[in-house]
């Protein structure tokens, strides 16, 4: 079975500071990994995804994430946050291969950016 752990329920950073949101996954096979963002009263929007190849993937709005097989991690980073980045961020995993299209989410990290 696949699972995702986001160890930080809440993170607060100052505007302009760098950011890292942590994600650890568990998967029996090579995973597909995703980060989604949810703004208040909205659905989830895809930030970035990793399938294979270069372990550092670029996403929208300056976000990037790094896949580490040895650490079973897929941490999200941003060099300089803006107040508009305040939202809830979800890491998700899907097993590669096969016909199972189930996407499993972590519990989310609520990011607050203070000015």
């Amino acid at each position: 079975a696949q699972s995702v752990t986001q160890p930080d329920a809440r993170v607060t950073v100052s505007e302009g500071a760098s950011l890292q949101l942590r994600c650890k996954y568990s998967s029996s096979v090579t995973p597909y990994l995703f980060w989604y963002v949810q703004y208040p009263r909205q659905g989830l929007q895809l930030l970035l995804k990793y399938y294979s190849g270069d372990p550092v993937v670029q996403g929208v709005n300056g976000f990037e994430a790094e896949f580490s097989k040895s650490n079973s991690s897929f941490h999200l980073r941003k060099a300089s946050v803006h107040w508009s980045d305040s939202a809830v961020y979800f890491c998700a995993v899907r097993n590669s291969g096969g016909s199972n299209a189930k996407l499993t989410f972590g519990k989310g990290t609520k990011l607050s950016v203070k000015s």
Binding site: Y36, Q42, G43, L44, F90, K102, L103, F105
Partner: protein, 116 residues
Amino acid sequence: EAGVTQSPRYAVLQEGQAVSFWCDPISGHDTLYWYQQPRDQGPQLLVYFRDEAVIDNSQLPSDRFSAVRPKGTNSTLKIQSAKQGDTATYLCASSPGLGYSQNTLYFGAGTRLSVL
């Protein structure tokens, strides 16, 4: 291209009442998902379809929840006899059927349900 459309946006019920949620996926997307998202938690899969067929409903409380997608396009999720524990946002998502793009889910804005 229109996104995933859900209705209603909000629903408030007394325990024991029934409610239905409706989802219109992105045109051409053959896979449709229903997720339940309790407050301050991540989405949890209830059921998903490929075309009109149920692929996985193992997390759907079958005694009170049902979901259909009769023509492989729109879908309805129904709760019979709602309980306070059903209070959550219900998210619908869809994805295309082929290649790597099938792994990307596109979400609607959700239906926020409160059961009093």
